[in-house]
Symmetry: C2
Amino acid sequence: MKKNEEALKYYDLNKYRTPDGYTSDIAVFTIVDDEEDQNKKVLKLMLIKRSEIDAEGNPNIEGGKWALPGGFVRNDETAFEAAKRELAEETGVDHIHLKHFGVYDKPGRDPRGWIIANAHYAIVNEYYLEHRQAADDADDVQLFTLDEVFNLDLAFDHRKIIEDSIKWIKKDMAETTLARTFLPREFTIPELQKVILAVFYHKQIESNNFYKKLHKFDFIEEVKGENNEVKETRRNSKRPAKMYRFVDKERFVSIYL
Amino acid sequence: MKKNEEALKYYDLNKYRTPDGYTSDIAVFTIVDDEEDQNKKVLKLMLIKRSEIDAEGNPNIEGGKWALPGGFVRNDETAFEAAKRELAEETGVDHIHLKHFGVYDKPGRDPRGWIIANAHYAIVNEYYLEHRQAADDADDVQLFTLDEVFNLDLAFDHRKIIEDSIKWIKKDMAETTLARTFLPREFTIPELQKVILAVFYHKQIESNNFYKKLHKFDFIEEVKGENNEVKETRRNSKRPAKMYRFVDKERFVSIYL
DNA sequence: CTAATAGTGTCTATAAGACACTATATA
DNA sequence: TATATAGTGTCTTATAGACACTATTAG
């Protein structure tokens, strides 16, 4: 565009004060087996403990506190791409479900200056997190239940970010097929139920009636095998359970119906 | 915090490249009477036409194109506060419904440099927009229907931002009591119906059955007058209509029920 | 009385929710 | 055969959707 090139000659980049930093933070969630009740699953959040000293051996900002993983955005990527990159660096996995849910830019939120944080939530399969924990110093990365998390000493404004991330994950869980990201590609109905109950642990679902609602769930379908028979698995039980998969389908929910 | 003060001594702000600008843009929506069918309402978006030359008389970036109103965020405010301030400056109204829905930070989206845009949608009463249009140059600010908007020459990546804003307003309209922001504080059922249909103009609501759903709508209640009688209005019809108001109530919608 | 908008009643099909029951496997 | 998990059947009550109908005003 010629006209813009001309206009740029007159544009002064320094006319406005600019931020001192642009970061991406990620609330990494996973669902693991409940230790108290083997029949249940429980939602957990991964946090890192900020080291007391930085790479150069100097005291670290918010050192010793628990924080969301994250880092600075480069000028050749979006905040979303930065989150993806950082997550891959942390956990060593690609193809993780990631969603941007908010911006935290209140002046004074970071003692280092005017720093804008983009918040995302991620859903990672338990396996990768276990792997990562083993590989690294066990004191630095840990999984917490939502009850435990708020008893920790949290860095910056991460308490607020974590609260919001939980609100969003619950909302998306109820309104979209987000549950798919917690499940294997082919799953059973009881597995789906457990995931839903892990997030809505205060709610009840009549286990038996869930099956009857199935025909209304146009967002899942039975998995067929080679001879067009429905695939089954015995991984959770003696009696084989039918396998289902999610179908790409736009959902519409309304309070007015 | 003593520890952080100590740590700050060692922190170098210039370690990372920082953005060249941080802005807030606002998609301003209103609902006005449909000119073709007086019985309907229609959703419109306000856009401004960027002037060809800037205040100093130099050619303006993306001059002549239609754009969302907005501007740079100051370092003593959040992007949300900036949006609120700019909207107040533009329309002269406070207490406008405003919601942040996205960040646009793709490298190259703005020819001026690495500029991060925060997108919001706003809902403004028709009256204020009419007023504003009259006060200003009529060629510079205009209301467009959603069909008209995409035939315009739009500045920056505002086409994408507008598309997203429409998705969000529809989603929030269906899932929350956002409709309240388009309505007077006390409204009639037919008024509510028209607002919903203005946003979901492709959907049908059986006008008569809407009344039967009322008792389920725990988010609205009848407005009572002094003697505990239900308030009525005759502003739309000869026969008086009962008045309702929104009640603050958390909504929960789920695809699993 | 007519016209215009507000609001009800009624019927049928489908869905929700409670809960008792059956099915398929392993050990 | 016991037992653990998967899945059905049945009954009652609530809701959706179609559509015919009634109500209240101004002029």
